[in-house]
Symmetry: C2
Subunit: 489 residues, 2 copies
């Protein structure tokens, strides 16, 4: 039977008698049948009176960790929890009623650290110059605003929140806990901690119940963050016999391959991500983002759709894949991404050629080149991982595509570009925000703590930076679809 990480337990104890003289605390501990019961001294002082007033019936707020039970409140009335995905660009959170065991609402907010720098390295640099505090506080403030928004929306008091689960990449986890980040991006890439313990939420400035606890997914190094561990948990690939692949095309693309026996993660050099960063017109998959593009074979006119049908403000990952695939399919660009044909929407500016989709949304030849580096890194990472295990693409059960991109990507276009292996389309699964889902799973089921630890313990990572095979194959993968298309599957 699964039980939430934290909930209220109707706890009816045997009354003491001359044949059962256990002390109050041990009586309570025995009820839970776990190795450890933790309680504050303050609550221990209240325990005898509470037990006897209530005829040995209590309704404590109980947090389950791997070893035992922590009583956060001796008499609880309500118990909510927050699942968090702290992305470099976006914070997403779900609020759960852990007594009713249901999700109340989900909300997101731009990571307030974006104001310091769009990308992680810029933020680390800022922290090195000005100290961690500003970035730590900006992030915590963002989380608090998000929590407040969820609480307002559901009409609950943040004081009723007793736990939060958090998945984030290694740097974001460090920023959130106020830990030094300067050694993460430089050789030999050392984080302060891999597996944070349960932290008092108040120690981090979280405005939830002051006894609330924060669970943080462990990282497997500077480049394999808790978000990836959470993603693995969310897909369940770690429990199945046949290997599956998880591709997180969020802000920083990583590739995971694994099954119930082993898990391998590509680390480093997966290339820049598809959204933001490499494209001036790039944006996240939200209202106004162009996510579908078709080019007419005959007149080469561009048709696009935006998310929520809002006026176009930029182009998101799935839109870029569609665009480049359609440009190639219709012969506007060649296999190296160079513009070969003159059409009405090709512009020259400052010596650069642009594809102008709308007045404000355009993509340059150089940006297409950057995109091709990303797709080359992604495919080559997948290929090298699969081959390093002595496997073929046909051995792969599923390929999970995580991230906001996941729900929108047209697999046939990604395959046409040589970005994804050419296996049955049915085996591609749009997995959504797996980092958030992993967080939600732990919140909803404390047994997941052990599963996370197992996953974390089984991860090995494959450094692409220094992999000879990766280096050898990468240049061929820069072509559309590939200079050696036979390896696409």
């Amino acid at each position: 039977m699964s039980r939430p990480l934290c909930t209220i337990y109707e706890t009816r104890l045997d009354r003491p008698s001359l044949t059962d003289k256990r002390a109050d605390f041990e009586r309570l501990k025995d009820f839970f049948r776990r190795e450890e019961l933790s309680l504050s001294l303050e609550d221990l002082r209240k325990l005898p009176a509470l037990l006897r007033e209530g005829d040995f019936l209590l309704s404590p707020v109980v947090f389950h960790d791997e070893r035992g039970v922590r009583i956060l409140e001796l008499q609880g009335k309500r118990c909510y929890g927050i699942a968090l995905d702290i992305g470099t660009t976006n914070l997403v959170a779900s609020l759960y009623d852990l007594v009713a065991e249901r999700r109340l609402s989900t909300a997101s907010l731009e990571n307030p650290q974006v104001a310091f720098s769009e990308d992680i390295l810029g933020r680390i640099h800022y922290a090195m110059l000005h100290g961690l505090d500003e970035l730590h506080e900006a992030l915590v403030d963002g989380v608090n605003r998000l929590v407040e928004r969820l609480c307002d929306h559901s009409g609950i008091d943040p004081d009723g929140i007793y736990c939060a689960t958090l998945s984030a990449n290694t740097v974001m986890t460090h920023f959130l806990l106020g830990l030094e980040v300067r050694y993460i991006p430089v050789e030999p890439y050392i984080p302060v901690i891999h597996s944070p313990w349960l932290i008092n939420a108040s120690e981090c400035g979280f405005r939830i119940n002051k006894k609330g606890l924060l669970y943080t997914f462990p990282n497997a190094g500077s480049y394999v963050g808790g978000d990836i561990v959470a993603g693995i948990l969310a897909t369940g690939l770690h429990k199945r016999q046949r290997p599956s692949i998880l591709i997180d095309v969020g802000t920083n693309a990583e590739v995971v391959i694994g099954n119930r026996d082993w898990i391998l993660v590509s680390a480093g050099a997966a290339g820049p991500a598809l959204e933001g960063g490499i494209l001036r017109s790039g944006m996240r998959a939200e209202g106004g983002a162009i996510y579908r593009i078709e080019i007419n074979d005959h007149d080469r006119t561009i048709k696009y759709r935006t998310i929520k049908d809002e006026p176009p403000r930029g182009i998101c990952g799935s839109g870029v894949i569609d665009l480049v695939a359609e440009l190639y399919r219709t012969g506007i660009i060649d296999s190296r991404g160079r513009i070969r044909t003159k059409t009405s929407y090709i512009r020259q500016r400052d010596g650069e050629s642009f594809i102008e989709i709308t007045e404000s949304v355009a993509i340059s030849e150089r940006e297409i080149e950057n995109f091709l580096r990303s797709k080359a890194a992604m495919f080559t990472s997948i290929y090298v991982l699969v081959k390093s295990l002595g496997l073929e693409f046909s051995d792969i059960e599923n390929i999970y595509i995580a991230g906001a991109l996941g729900s929108g990507v047209r697999v046939e276009n990604a395959q046409l570009l040589g970005m994804l292996p050419r296996i049955d389309k049915e085996r591609y699964i749009a997995a959504g925000n797996t980092a958030l889902k992993g967080s939600e799973l732990v919140l909803a089921n404390s047994d997941m703590l052990k599963e996370v630890r197992d996953i974390h313990g089984r991860i090995t990572y494959h450094e692409m930076n220094t992999d000879g095979e990766f280096m050898r194959l990468f240049p061929s993968a820069l072509f559309i679809p590939h200079a050696e298309p036979a390896i696409l599957g």
Copy 2:
């Protein structure tokens, strides 16, 4: 190799490299090779800089618990500890330098709760009427004064003290931790807790380092306190093949019998203690206490000696034993403790007969009767315990006599009175303050934590109140030496 409960560890870590990319925290954790390493978030935030400034050499203050290691300070300069014996009447403490591994000094202080009531029940009653706070604070204040005195004496700063070990009876432990005591003395005799966890000393108001931890010996019920568990540890009887007996004749006499396989403790009804309480002239074994008495066979004059040869202020336990034994030997009292002979120092006052030793130190016939109840309870407890195990006195390896009494008692007189079994005098061992010694052992060697847990887990207690054999034999034991002297051994 034994190591103190808390000490400073020279900790030289491997420097990180591309082939050893463990995070700072896990690197530190691996150094200690224990299941758990705990550190405050505050210290985790300081860790990366400290490690790199010191070229991966640290000198942390390290507390060893059973499961792992707690780092209380990342860079320590000194580390002291306090072993405490919190008696109903006296507080005794030793100060240790845990780096040099030696005891610096020992001191004692009257338990400030004596001002509320001499005996435990009176204090519990006071707490029920006026709340726990006054008694809790008085006790903590006493401990703080004692610690201060030790620190002054050795010229150290209390801030350098990182741990305290504490043995006390169940009620004193509860008072010290600020836990409800009202349910301890009433049926079914339920304490708040048997095995307190490690408590932040500051949570209890202890004025030592604010990160310091307090270890409390576990109790095995309302009447078998941590002081007894500490006493067992101190004698080592729990490790030997042949059974031994431990008698603590402090404020509340209890009898332990055990070996490496089992431990049995008599609980309840061991009768009033020998010191204080039952005698108006009774006092602890300290300066001015009459501790030796001889009565001349011919002229029946009394000769006595006082501790430190100070003017007599009262009579301590060993003095009472000597006195009653000599009164009996010289025929002044009969086998029921009644005064049978007129001598110069027998006085009548308010219808009571007194033996007047000095102008201010006297013992009445009724007090002798009370003493005989104590000795009867003690002998009968020992006898019943031994017999309940199918043993004879000759099977007993040693009889440890703990308490201030231990060093002074004349075994032959106690045997003459039928208080102690008639076995070789060599097998009686004056064990001194075993409660303090147990505390000191844990402080000096963290492996003792496990031993204490083992002892605690093995204790069963034998309720004398409801034991038919005890009830049957007790009346005969009221006689000097016994109505059935054959059972004395």
